[in-house]
């Protein structure tokens, strides 16, 4: 077995988006001596945080309270969010966004110089801080540029972590494939924080970029950490048909209207549960409403199937250019429509995973030394449905918390047996060398990926039912088996993106397995998980988190109680 190069740090952060960068900064600030590695499969400014558009929520105005933000989040989560987590989150949110402002984030401003806020779905008052309609871009670049100040954050860019290295029940580092060189390195660390984002690419129609393949979730899953609440996949109501490109909720926050083929504002005229909030209802309800309108025959015909309309024409050019400039550009480039003059074609699109690696409020998993934060993790802040603009703040709050917890853990920890750890990395080198360009049973990578995505769309769409979910579980299991027969073409060592795509597909199949199996087990409708054959929320039997453990015999499902607090579950009506 070959020898791999070994590197040593105290804390390893996997993933360089908002959560990863925030965790890295928190770690070096908490411990002036700590050596922190930031290992990302792409350069940090390419992380998918960059595409977030609408805003980040935190209490800012005098007419707002932490309690209100807390309750909005609890209710938005359909009472599946852990209330201790939510309490901590709303307290820290204003501090984190203020801190980011100090680090240069160009928040949009009111005339008096204070940070401006806008309305957002499910929020009772304006508490979404924004930077025109490119908040994720500005947050990511501010965080990345600020992180450049710290020499003790050592970056490993375009290094793809393929395995967590475990010794004596504790995570001791990662095996990372250097995409450019084609070699695997053993990066040892006393704690590891997974901040790799979600896995929207298991679906065919998603706002997510190519890199969102659930890598961190799969890594944790494979060493025995359960994935929690995976059935809850958020369909954002307004994505462009065809590409799936996100049209931010801020369009509705600034007054946009959603209409059917008759020009009717059906969220107002018909009862879809959003009450007077209309277009500012929570995302799951609006997505369901749009699907129902289309099924009732009131959808608009388009080249990519039926869709609804998002009408901004009454907002005026000035407002659109100042508050929603990127939306205007995106519509012109990717939909051939100018929202100042025409309605935007939109339909629900997979956007976010509420579920993820099961962690506690500090980001710690059940495996010693392993932490997770951001969309990768399920703390659970978002329960069964996430409110828009909570996730960017979540990345900061829990990125910081896990970074601090990880470095404290590293301080008190030891290194483990070097040889046993290095051997695992060497095994990874052998595995990847064997995978590269290999000819097996003739299964094509793109075919397997398309079939996985098709199965997920059929079984785990906005509306679900038992038979199709079971079918999807079977199809995913079959695809797992067929993956062993995949044939690859690229035998090159240098910057082989095909082998990376193959490893990502393996990760996605693991994530898809947990989503489909968890969904099949939840016999109720709650938040984003809506069933035609179990339409009511069932707090008696299903007020719990689902946990999905990896098992050779098939995923093993268990449950975990929800931490309630000051708010008892009630009917979720707006």
């Amino acid at each position: 077995m070959s020898v791999v190069e070994t590197l040593q740090h105290d804390v390893l952060i996997v993933g360089g988006g908002a959560a990863g960068l925030r965790a890295a900064i928190a770690a070096v600030e908490a411990d002036p001596e700590a050596s922190v590695a930031l290992v990302s499969k792409v350069y940090p400014m390419r992380s998918h945080t960059v595409s977030a558009e609408g805003g980040a929520a935190a209490v800012a105005r005098d007419d707002d309270t932490l309690e209100m933000h807390g309750f909005d989040t609890v209710k938005g989560s359909d009472f599946l969010g852990d209330q201790d987590v939510i309490q901590y989150f709303v307290e820290q949110a204003p501090r984190e966004l203020t801190r980011l402002e100090h680090w240069g984030c160009p928040w949009s401003r009111n005339e008096d110089g204070t940070v401006a806020t806008r309305a957002f779905g499910g929020m009772t008052t304006k508490r979404t801080w924004y930077a025109a309609d490119k908040v994720g871009f500005h947050m990511l670049h501010s965080l990345f540029q600020h992180s450049l100040r710290f020499d003790r954050i050592v970056r490993y860019d375009e290094q793809f972590v393929t395995r967590l290295l475990v010794d004596e029940g504790q995570v001791r580092g990662v095996a990372a494939l250097d995409v450019r060189e084609g070699v695997v390195r053993c990066i040892r660390g006393r704690s590891v924080v997974l901040c790799t984002g979600g896995g929207g690419k298991i679906f065919p129609f998603t706002t997510n970029g190519n890199i969102k393949t659930g890598d961190g979730m799969a890594l944790a899953y494979r060493i025995g950490v359960p994935l929690k609440d995976m059935e809850f996949v958020q369909y954002h109501p307004t994505g462009l048909p065809g590409t799936g490109i996100l049209i931010t909720e801020a369009t509705r926050g600034e007054g946009g209207h959603v209409k059917n083929v008759d020009g009717e504002r059906f969220l107002v005229t018909r009862d879809y549960g959003v009450g007077s909030k209309a277009e500012l209802g929570p995302r799951d309800m609006i997505s369901r409403a749009i699907v129902q309108e289309i099924e009732a025959g009131r959808g608009v015909d388009g080249a990519y199937g039926e869709h609804a309309h998002l009408d901004l024409t009454h907002l005026g050019e000035e407002k659109i250019d100042s508050r929603l400039p990127m939306v205007r550009e995106l519509c012109k480039i990717y939909a051939g429509v100018d929202p100042v003059y025409e309605p935007i074609p939109i339909r629900p699109v997979v956007h976010y995973m509420m579920g993820g690696v099961d962690v506690d409020i500090e980001g710690a998993t059940l495996v010693s030394g392993l932490f997770a934060a951001g969309e990768t993790a399920c703390v659970s802040l978002n329960g069964a449905n996430r409110l828009g603009s909570n996730s960017l703040t979540e990345c900061l709050v829990f990125g910081a918390r896990s970074g601090e917890a990880a470095v404290a853990f590293a301080r008190g920890s030891n290194d483990g047996a070097a040889q046993r750890i290095d051997e695992q990395a060497a095994a990874e080198q052998a595995r990847i060398d064997a995978l590269r360009g290999r000819k097996r049973g003739g299964e094509k990578l793109a075919t397997l990926r398309n079939e996985m995505q098709g199965a997920m769309e059929r079984g785990c769409g906005v509306y679900r039912e038992a038979a199709s979910m079971q079918q999807t579980c079977r199809e995913i299991a079959e695809l797992q088996a067929r993956f062993a027969e995949v044939s690859l073409e690229d035998t090159s060592r240098v910057f082989n993106t095909e082998v990376v795509a193959a490893l990502e597909l393996a990760n996605m199949l693991d994530v898809a397995e947990t989503v489909a199996n968890a969904a099949a087990r939840r016999n109720e409708s709650r938040g984003a998980h809506t069933r035609r054959d179990a339409t009511a929320r069932d707090d008696v039997n299903f007020l719990h988190h689902s946990l999905c453990y990896r098992d050779d015999a098939g995923p093993r499902l268990e449950t975990k109680p929800v931490t309630l607090g000051r708010w008892e579950p009630e009917e979720r009506k707006y």
Binding site: V42, Y43, M45, R46, S47, H48, V50, S51, R95, T98, R99, E101, H102, W103, G104, P106, W107, S108, R109, N110, E111, D112, G113, T114, V115, K134, F137, H138, H141, Q145, H146, L148, R149, R180, G209, N210, I211, G242, T243, I245, L246, A303, M326, E329, L330, I333, Y334, L445, A446, L488, E489, D490, T491, S492, R493, V494, F495, N496, T497, E498
Partner: protein, 249 residues
């Protein structure tokens, strides 16, 4: 798929382990009318030739990964419609950069230049979180806002004739980002950056080609930033002759 019109993509290929120098390969791609060049490249990779390596992610012109030369022009391939191009499309890696593989270029040089300009808020005394946010008026925000839009796509570096000749030149994006911070009302580091702008990577290497601004997909107008930086660097130098450093803000 088979009844879609086909275009010929002539793509630069390079594998350092196999190829002495870059070469090209031709691919016939059936193109959907809505496709961007990136969609065609992905089709090639998925259906025709799995050995093609290229960077991409967001496909919505905000992550900056997919910059390449398309028919000789630096272009964001996720934004460039195929329908606007002739029947033969040449796709090559970005000009002015060393090439790692196929359409993938070396970015470390840029990151070094970026770090040189200190792209962060420099203040004598950091504000405490408890004190709240800095006050910044919409007018103050507008002064640097445009320069903060850079997605680091590197098209400007690929277009700049000076970057082709002078390895030390900081380049459009790095200077624009340094300038973005110097003009941010919360920053106090303009003097430091002006010295950097007069230093080895000097902004004065810019010879007014304006190509950077012509190709920028985000309308950052780096040429404006570079020339404003020249102005500031000169004023700073001149006042530095007259007033002692401590006498300035």
């Amino acid at each position: 798929m088979s009844d879609l019109p086909k275009k010929t993509f002539v793509v630069t290929r390079f594998d350092p382990d196999q190829d002495e120098a870059p070469r090209t390969e031709r691919y016939e791609v059936p193109c959907h009318p809505d496709w961007k060049v990136l969609d065609a490249l992905n089709y090639i990779k998925d259906e025709i030739d799995g050995t093609l390596s290229h960077r991409w992610s967001c496909r919505m012109a905000v992550c900056g990964s997919c910059g390449m030369q398309v028919n000789g022009e630096p272009s964001l391939t996720c934004k460039q419609p195929v329908s606007e191009l002739p029947d033969t499309v040449e796709v090559a890696p970005l000009a002015n950069f060393p090439v790692i593989r196929d359409l993938v270029v070396e970015l470390e040089g840029f990151l070094e230049k970026l770090k040189q300009v200190k792209p962060w808020i420099i203040r004598a005394k950091e504000k405490a979180v408890e004190e709240g946010t800095h006050s910044q008026s919409p007018a103050e925000h507008a002064e640097f806002k445009q320069f903060s839009m850079c997605i680091n796509c590197m098209l400007c570096y690929a277009a700049c004739p000076v970057v082709a000749n002078e390895p030390e030149f900081l380049g459009p994006a790095a200077i624009a980002l340094g300038h973005r911070y110097s003009t941010d009302s919360r920053d106090e580091g303009a003097a430091e950056r002006n010295e950097i702008f007069r230093g080895e990577g000097t902004v004065f290497s810019c010879s007014y080609a304006n190509e950077c601004s012509e190709v920028c997909p985000k309308h950052v107008d780096p040429a404006a930033a570079v020339n404003q930086a020249k102005f500031n660097a000169v004023i700073d130098w001149a006042t530095g002759l007259v007033l002692p450093r401590g006498g300035r803000e």
